[in-house]
């Protein structure tokens, strides 16, 4: 592979998280006036998934076209680009999710915006009752839970499957399987 092609691919992949960030910022501002309330996590997932098409197209234009029909090389090149791009997307998603759901980050930002806070106020503001309410609302917004009258039912089993995979991985690593 030529150095210039490898360098173009490298720069393309390095620019991908920035592109995802700019597209998300644009879509968020576009959705608001239209009255579309989409959870930021879903917006990023959609952006990353849809981004696979332009990424592979650009990679083809920049590097793969010179591989002159070597199918194995092209397949490996596509796999490399898709894998790197999507895992960079996962990293970006984790950063966004941290700013959305992490209690550590929430407390830090609350202190930055509201100023110093008595410990009692922290306990009141982040009480179990309030946190469970917010979490249930988020799970409904993300399509994981559904309210049927006074009862809640599972709407999407995706997170449950992830939970089972996590359980198996914890077993493999020898980590505790239940909270102490």
């Amino acid at each position: 592979m030529h150095e210039s092609s490898a360098l173009s691919l490298l720069l393309l992949l390095l620019a991908a998280p920035l592109a995802i960030c700019i597209i998300q910022a644009a879509l968020t501002r576009l959705c608001r006036p239209l009255g579309l309330l989409i959870a930021p996590q879903l917006l990023v997932l959609g952006t990353v998934l849809a981004g696979n098409v332009p990424m592979v197209w650009l990679a083809w234009r920049l590097a793969f076209s010179e591989l002159a029909g070597d199918r194995v090389a092209i397949a490996c090149g596509v796999a490399l680009v898709v894998l790197t791009y999507n895992t960079l997307g996962v990293c970006y998603f984790c950063m966004l999710n941290l700013s959305e759901t992490s209690l550590h980050v929430h407390i830090l930002m609350d202190l930055l915006i509201s100023g110093p806070m008595p410990v009692d106020e922290l306990a009141a503001r982040y009480g179990v009752g309030e946190m469970i309410e917010v979490r249930i609302e988020r799970m409904i917004a993300l399509g994981q839970l559904q309210s049927q009258g006074e009862y809640f039912v599972v709407r999407n089993t995706g997170l449950l499957v992830i939970g089972r995979i996590i359980h198996l991985w914890r077993k493999l690593l020898g980590l505790p399987l239940k909270p102490a």
């Binding site: 209690l103 830090l108 915006i113 110093p116 009692d120 306990a123 839970l145 996590i166 909270p179």
Partner: protein, 174 residues
Amino acid sequence: MPSILGFGLGLFLCSMVLHVAIWRCFPIRNQPFRLALLFLALPAAIVLICLAAPSSWRLIPGWPWAAWGLGYLLDLSVSLSYVLLYTGLTSFSPSIAILERVEASMPQGLPREKLVPYWFTHERLAGARHDNLVGSRLVADSGAVLQLQPRGRFIARCFLIFRRFLGLPDLAQG
């Protein structure tokens, strides 16, 4: 291309095999340091050694430096994803616990008051976070009043700039 893909995946596989072996054979402690060593420092060291070695010693001769960069970027992106997701692996997710409780009572489901797992307590949630933040010197607890320390202020500002750039409210709902 096949060799670049193989090199990147091989680096990650090496880190993963060592990770499983160390976690199973030794007491689990100082996890962030060990993860950073295995998934970030070790592959970087291997790449640097490969680049510094005389070309006749190299396992894969004739690669331009950008090809090494592509291989390492693949390993780095997969490794970073794993390290970031590892936090979710070690800390028990309340959302998954809630869904497991609801699933166990399907098709009827569960009323709101029965959704909360037994370990969803103040000590494990805000209490544990308070202790972590004070312990890592991001926040100072002086006279029962919490105040940001310079490092904590820096992290909070980075997230604030990020959220404002995205057009999201300063403070997420939680």
